[in-house]
Subunit: 210 residues, 2 copies
């Protein structure tokens, strides 16, 4: 099969999976359901994916791939490093939020079933994200805009500090509230970026306060 | 039954549960195992807890209760607000880490089974922790040491920024590495506290850099 067609079928399978996850949830969805939704036979699905678990994990891979594309676009824009980093932090939380938004009711189901597989992939996702953040941190330092210690550790600290706001770690109720997630992420991002910007301690206490 | 004895039996049940979680893991452990470990009949366990799930959730409650005691001790110590907050952030991660350290191999099992119950409790845990952090933030602001917007939002931002390092969100492999978790938490805490301290932007770029 030519690669282009192979890729197209693979994408169609992942699109169908996304719709079915919203409709049935992880546990109820079968490989047969996916085949019917794509309009192919069961065998075709198995040509591309060894199991239902693998289909859904690749669906998550695709979300993270799309995220990295967005992050690189922001990383190479003209804004200051602090503005780019802030926007990247919000994007890494909100793009994931939006990706699972249509099946929040069924998310616990999926997370409980795929927890080991997802945890195994997570380290790789974070390494790839950290590299994009590290590039912008270095540019900010070179421009005299940011001040920090080791670049990669700082990049991971930015990720760790926003990881708790990723859908994986939210309840279904919390997932319903996009604005709230956005607000929380912005609050964390602002604290972090305040800490990164080249600043001088204001040693004298404000005389208005004791 | 007098309250003191009731409390003592309850504590003995939770101690036994902790040992059994390490030995068997959540799924394999039965109410009968707990009764045998305590040296009482199954009926006695059911007098205190309606189900195995409830025993384990109360075991988690006890961990968080102990954590709050520790946080309050740090919060009322003599150090500067920034030093107290940093130590509180490390403590909230590392005390939880140490609490599950002896059953890391079995943790995924427990988390997958109790996820809905744990998520439901988490909001309450965080509210209580946030209150302790808010007190120290206010003291830091009153002393002219810290500068931030809304106190409670800032307290939650500190919690959110370290939540991803709690055992619930780590893989078993990551849970094996206490020093690594400590280092990651310290990196996030330092960035956050740098952002909180009363600072003035250093507008002029360092001439040594471009």
């Amino acid at each position: 099969m030519p690669t282009a067609i192979r890729e197209e079928i693979r994408d169609a399978i992942l699109d169908a999976t996304e719709r079915l996850l919203a409709r049935y949830g992880y546990r109820k969805m079968t490989i047969e359901d996916i085949a019917r939704e794509v309009g192919v036979g069961k065998g075709t699905i198995y040509l591309h994916f060894p199991s239902k678990e693998e289909v859904v994990l690749c669906h998550v891979d695709r979300i993270v791939y799309r995220l990295k594309v967005r992050l690189r676009t922001i990383a190479t824009s003209d804004a200051t490093a602090a503005v780019r980093l802030r926007s990247m932090l919000l994007t890494r939380v909100l793009l994931r939020f939006d990706s699972v938004q249509h099946y929040t009711q069924n998310l616990n189901d999926l997370l409980a079933a795929l927890r080991p597989g997802l945890l195994a992939r997570r380290a790789r996702y974070y390494d790839e994200e950290a590299q994009i953040f590290a590039d912008v941190l270095n540019q900010g330092r070179d421009a005299g805009e940011l001040d920090f210690g080791d670049t990669l550790s700082t990049a991971y600290a930015l990720l760790h500090a926003t990881n708790a706001l990723l859908p994986y770690n939210l309840t279904t109720m919390e997932l319903g509230e996009r604005e709230e997630v956005e607000e929380k992420t912005a609050a964390v991002a602002d604290l972090l970026l305040h800490g990164l910007q080249r600043l001088k301690p204001n040693v004298a206490a404000d005389p208005g306060l004791t």
